[in-house]
Symmetry: C2
Subunit: 146 residues, 2 copies
DNA sequence: CGCAATCTAATTGTGTACAATTCAAAGCGA
DNA sequence: TCGCTTTGAATTGTACACAATTAGATTGCG
């Protein structure tokens, strides 16, 4: 147990977290290609499929993404015809993003993705629930202390 | 329980994984700024601190990164003077990356990072171990089925 | 009212990520 | 040995991520 033990890759929790996240996103890609979305575009669409309309700030809070990421991404979704981007008349600083009919249709085609992905992680129901709880606990702590 | 249940953000395991990974990397940044490394550069240096020398292919296998990511990253580490990049004489296709004295010094300054990060996740020893095991199990499964 | 402080997006710049392609070196079979 | 295949990096192109800054709109306070 030397003084550099903490600097070994295998003693880090961050590295497998980072690696697992990337690998899973990579696994999504073939399925997402079918609906011509990237992973980030997909999670943005997921929010809209549930809420129909949201402003950029709220979307960023939900996805933990900032405007530097969302602005170009939403412009791309708009150019594909899946969302509209309209300034709020009550407050011109706010940009509302809303689902279009074409974006709503996409939901139909996307609904087969989650069940097909589910098996890739190879975790039992219990393990998945445990992981889920730990991840949200960690996210809460990471954000709580600023 | 409608047919779109799977498309809700809160029913995904991928999203908290993705979010937690990003948030934790973000938490590293202030500490990594002290040694002027990005997170990806840091994990590459961690490998070198343990192994002194490695070729690009092996490094990519360890970190789950490809040459498109590693080539510019290693050039940057070379320009900072932390590593050398030399073609293997036995096989000119292979590029060996080795730690320089300056890179070795950096290990001293970096060793305080892991303990300072440790608390951010706010998980108990047991929870961290559970998460660690589940993550490596998932990574194994994600890669096993190609 | 007037204007400074605040708020929300957009922009800019740097650094990943990765698929696909390219290119040179090495291995290999007829 | 000559071509063919394979291999390992590098390159190219697209798409995030995020810090820092900018720009415009709104709010609030004196």
């Amino acid at each position: 147990m030397d003084e550099y033990e903490g600097l070994k890759l295998e003693n880090q929790l961050c590295f497998p977290l980072y690696a697992c996240s990337k690998e899973l996103v990579r696994r999504y890609q073939p399925f997402l290609d079918e609906v011509e979305l990237t992973y980030t575009q997909y999670i943005a669409m997921m929010v809209l499929w549930q809420r129909e309309k949201i402003n950029v700030k709220s979307l960023g809070e939900l996805l933990y993404l900032d405007s530097g990421t969302l602005t170009p991404l939403l412009k791309k979704l708009e150019s594909k015809g899946y969302v509209s981007r309209v300034r709020a008349s009550e407050d011109e600083r706010v940009l509302n993003v809303a689902l279009t009919d074409k974006g709503r249709e996409l939901k139909q085609r996307a609904k087969s993705i989650p069940p097909r992905i589910a098996g890739c992680l190879g975790l039992s129901e219990t393990e998945a629930k445990t992981m889920y709880a730990l991840l949200y606990k960690a996210i809460g702590n990471l954000r709580a202390e600023q």
